[in-house]
């Protein structure tokens, strides 16, 4: 299958990165929902984030396409639209900020409650 000068790889090996992205998101959701340790929950969130970022990069991938820099592309070679790459970079930066904030909350929770176990951190129930 191809659109313009680009082709889409629909073989099993071409789908591999999508499968990895799905597995990463599934693992992350599992960790977030079933793990009782705050740090492990943060790891779960970063796993989901990595899965989504991988998916974003894959959406923008065109086999045979060149990076959109004029001096790098051969004459006549198609260039890819750099939007998904830009999105992924933004998303990684945002992910860094959220992870840092989550971990600092975890540090202060540990300082106040003396534990990271969510079953023991329950002043805000009901």
């Amino acid at each position: 299958m191809s659109i313009g000068s680009f082709s889409f790889d629909v073989t099993a090996s071409g789908q591999f990165p999508y499968i990895i992205a799905a597995i990463l998101v599934a693992f992350g959701l599992y960790a977030l929902l079933f793990k009782r340790n705050l740090i492990k929950m943060v790891i779960g969130i970063t796993l989901i984030e990595t899965g989504v970022n991988l998916f974003l990069v894959m959406v923008g991938y065109r086999s045979g396409g060149a990076a959109p820099i004029y001096t790098y592309a051969n004459p006549g070679q198609g260039m890819v639209l750099p939007t998904p790459q830009a999105l992924t970079l933004t998303s990684i930066v945002i992910g860094l900020a959220t992870t840092a904030l989550l971990l600092s909350f975890a540090i202060f929770v540990h300082r106040h409650y003396g534990t990271l176990d969510v079953r023991k951190i329950k002043e805000l129930r009901g």
């Binding site: 313009g4 977030l32 989901i48 989504v52 999105l87 959220t98 904030l101 989550l102 002043e123 805000l124």
Partner: protein
């Protein structure tokens, strides 16, 4: 159109954003200078929002476009002849302008209330920095016409909101709340991002109008449906709809009182995103009727669970927080009923313009739901500010430990009562005006919906009677700090109380001037929204 009105959409984001980063520097000059600076920034932001709204509601009536990086040539033509808009743009239609007004009202009163409320010696710079950052993010969510920008602004509000909830690190509960809220906000943000990636993969663009026109041309594909499901989940989670509401009472309850109201405005901005997705991007044919029913189920659950949970609270702020959660349900109910009716009109080949002019019950439900957003912001804002004054005076949030405050704080008591009665939907206050529209139109879909809505309003009144009795009634207390709130705190409350009363006494005027254009922008403004970007209309 004058230059200021033309650039208002981008200035609404830029002014508070630059203000947020300037606050730590200005703060070095002393507290007074900093407060004046923030007062100016917030007032300028509110004036810009007012200008934007005046421009739309006062005549233009067509979506206003602001393209970053030059107005000309914002689309790239493809070899196939199709042109794809790639520039980042802001697009302001009636709904965006309406939401801008709500945010302006809440941030203005919240910030001015904070000047007297914030007595701690340190932390003020951080507090105002985060407050302005949150304001910038909320305005960005409401004005942007680009899916990915929407995600970026969503994350800005998430980070700023959680900063506000948890930056008082010496408070034990705020840290627990901060972690919980941040985890759920991040999860909802990632759902939205995944949906955006799917939409990009399907349509090759991030522009909302372009995606909407693609869906209008090619129909809703499987990928689009998955993206819609993810957007619905993510945005409903961030708006605090039951069963994803667990973070909301923690967030509203643990944030400093003046910012709790801004967090409610943040939830409403997520609701706005949800409506934009359902009406503008996916608003074709009858294919989305199922989603409308999901919205109605979420609404009924939210109304009922929110009120029931509020009944059992003994913490004043947490009680109001659950009340605020239940109000999100009324907005969802109004717009959900509208969406069901809109789908059936489209399926039957009816005209949306005629139904809006004939005040079809679906359109009335939309008016009610949208009007209730503004009313809820005013009432809940008033209640949170009053609770802030009460907590400052009594030094506790536990209803069992306070009492007799009516002897010391006459004005605060009056404002609290106005807010509580209005939120419970008692005439002649504004909550009644919007809730009546929702009751009578939801009745047409199913009497059951109206019964739940009315019953929950009555229960909400019981909740506030309990809160009022606990905090204000009883004999004089020996609380050392008990005394009337300072004028700097009373004036913002008075402004909100005035809004509550004026909107309650003259609902017809406000429905005609601002609510109907906003409802029409969603109900029938899809083509105009797309046409403003892609031309043709």
């Amino acid at each position: 159109m004058n230059t200021l009105a033309m650039h208002a959409p981008v200035l609404l984001v830029a002014v508070p954003l630059l203000g947020a980063f300037a606050v730590p520097l200005i703060g070095k000059l002393g507290r007074g200078v900093r407060d004046i600076f923030i007062g100016l920034i917030v007032a300028a932001t509110a004036a810009l929002a007012g200008l934007l709204a005046a421009h739309y509601f006062g005549g233009a009536g067509v979506p206003q476009l602001y393209v970053l990086g030059g107005a000309n040539g914002f689309a790239i033509p493809l070899p196939s002849g199709l042109s794809v808009p790639i520039r980042i743009l802001f697009e302001v239609d009636g709904m965006s302008a309406f939401m801008g007004l709500i945010t302006a009202l809440v941030t203005l009163t919240g910030a001015y209330f904070s000047f007297c409320y914030w007595r701690e010696r340190s932390g003020g710079n951080m507090y105002y920095s985060l407050l302005l950052l949150l304001t910038a993010g909320i305005f960005g969510m409401e004005l942007t016409g680009d899916m990915f920008n929407f995600f970026v602004f969503l994350e800005i509000t998430s980070i700023a909101a959680c900063g506000l909830i948890g930056f008082r690190v010496w408070l034990k509960k705020s840290q627990e709340a901060g972690f919980k809220v941040m985890a759920l906000y991040t999860l909802s943000g990632l759902f939205v991002l995944l949906a955006i990636a799917l939409l990009y993969g399907q349509h090759g663009a991030l522009n909302m109008a372009f995606i909407a026109s693609q869906i209008g041309t090619f129909g809703v594909s499987i990928v689009d449906k998955i993206a819609l499901g993810l957007l619905l989940t993510g945005l409903a989670m961030k708006a605090g709809a039951v069963p994803m509401h667990m973070w909301a009472p923690d967030a509203y309850g643990e944030a400093p009182a003046p910012t709790s109201a801004i967090l409610v405005a943040n939830s409403q901005a997520s609701l706005y995103g949800l409506f934009r997705v359902l009406f503008t991007i996916f608003g074709v044919g009858a294919s989305i009727a199922t989603n409308a029913w999901i919205l109605i189920v979420l609404a009924v659950l939210t109304i009922f669970v929110g009120v029931t949970m509020a009944l059992v609270q003994n913490d004043l702020k947490r009680l109001i927080a659950f009340g605020a959660v239940s109000q999100i349900g009324y907005m969802l109910l109004g717009v959900g009923v509208g969406l069901v009716r809109r789908a059936s009109i489209l399926a039957g080949g009816g005209s949306l313009v005629d139904s809006a002019n004939a005040l079809d019950y679906g359109f009335v439900a939309m008016q009610g739901g949208i009007f209730h957003m503004l009313n809820d912001a005013a009432c809940v804002g008033l209640l949170f500010l009053a609770s802030g004054a009460v907590i400052r005076a009594s030094g506790t949030r536990d209803l069992n430990k306070m009492g007799g405050l009516a002897h010391h704080m006459k004005w605060t008591t009056i404002f609290f009562v106005i807010g509580a009665v209005a939120l419970a939907g008692v005439p002649p206050f504004n909550g009644f005006a919007s809730k009546l529209l929702i009751y009578q139109s939801a009745f047409k879909v199913s009497p059951f919906l109206s019964i739940i809505a009315i019953l929950s309003s009555i229960m909400l009144l019981a909740v506030f009677v309990k809160a009022f009795q606990g905090a204000f009634m009883g004999s004089k207390t020996g609380l050392p700090e008990a005394g009337e709130a300072r004028p700097g705190m009373l004036i913002p409350m008075a402004v909100l109380a005035l809004v509550v009363i004026v909107f309650g006494l003259f609902p017809g005027f406000f429905i005609d001037t601002i609510v109907t254009p906003a409802a029409k922008a969603l109900w029938l403004g899809r083509d105009a929204y797309i046409g403003a970007v892609l031309g043709g209309g």
